[in-house]
């Protein structure tokens, strides 16, 4: 299963993911620039990504907590999501996301 991630510098990466992993975990595991400071607890918004329009409908709706956290970022867009809240499955094979500036480690 692959996901396609564009980093903050505009470089595209094809990453191998596993069923049941969180997208944040895949991005972090491959060493891209993602802070993910709460480790997936949906408590910090530092794994913020923009989801490619064609994949948005395939994701479960964000929870109210996720919406609250996204609102607290400086760079929220209509296709913003927290990558720790996206669980990989067969239907998301090929998912395309872009790392938001606010997810950068430094």
């Amino acid at each position: 299963m692959k996901i396609h991630v564009t980093d903050q510098a505009g470089a595209e990466h094809e990453l191998e993911g596993l069923d049941g992993w969180r997208v944040m975990e895949v991005i972090r595991d491959w060493g891209l620039n993602i802070k993910a400071e709460c480790g997936g607890a949906a408590a910090c918004a530092t794994c913020h990504v923009y989801v490619d329009q064609q994949w948005l409908d395939k994701l479960a709706d964000p929870s109210d907590d996720e919406e609250d956290l996204l609102y607290s970022t400086l760079d929220k867009k209509p296709n913003s999501r927290l990558s720790c809240q996206i669980l990989l499955s067969d239907t998301l094979d090929g998912l395309k996301v872009t790392l938001a500036p606010s997810a950068a480690q430094s």
Partner: protein
Amino acid sequence: MQRLRLGLLDIKCQFIDILDRPGGQCAELYPEKPIYDIPGFPVVTGQELTENLMTQIAPFAPEFHFNRMVNSIDKQADGSFRLVTDADEVFLAKVVVIAAGGGSFQPKRPPVADIEQFENSSVFYSVRKMDDFRGQDVVIVGGGDSALDWTLNLQPIVRSLTLVHRRAVFKAAPASVSKMQELVGEGKINFLTGQIAKLDGENGQLNHVHLTTDAGDLSVPATRLLPFFGLTMKLGPVADWGLELNDNLIVVDTEKFETSVPGIFAIGDINTYPGKLKLILSGFHEAALMAQRAKKIISPDERVIFQYTTSSTKLQKKLGVA
């Protein structure tokens, strides 16, 4: 955990933390989330773990200095360290242990244009002196405990108070939510579901906040704005302490967890070494080894005998159980 390990070795220590309570990430980021990989605890929340650790260190009468950040650390001629906080307090110590996690917790700035120009004059991210809010038109934004607590605390002394949150659901103590709703019912405060759109004012003095609400766009009188959007971690002054860093983490050895400056240690998420795992478990291990080396620096002539709490009456006396 470093307090227990240091306490068992008769080392006194002072804790300095930018948060207003103990627990760091466990208490701030995931107090209600279950943790499943703490040895001996099939499941424990971040807050429960913090409370258990506080109970465990109670025999050593820990001294905490909250709401403070260490700005500088300077090595003295005698090898000890002089630390100065952002409250201009000075601490002298033979050993410094940095257990700062992802760095200093600092308030998130809300996504509103030009908010910087009002910060520290009309926009505040915490309340240091309640009197600064007396007789003011106050807008509080957020739905957590900080927003609700300050709504209740400030209401009696302000001229007007408007609480704004994205939705009418709060992540705060139910009693605080009920009390807030009573005040709304009595007409003593306003509650609006919406978001800040724009700030109005001049020379750093705010006079109105424009809101996008369910009832349309509104303008609310505001001479003080308190946004509570949670906290984020920033490395902060640690970067200026002359320690070897790697990707904003402090490089340590794995024998003593000492930094590139002898006498300064780093444990927990803030450090890095080959094979590092950012686990709470790792922090416990690192604290134990750090304490052994710290003892040798603090009491170089004292012979340290390695003992177990299960069998040593000396250690049990320190723990208050013998």
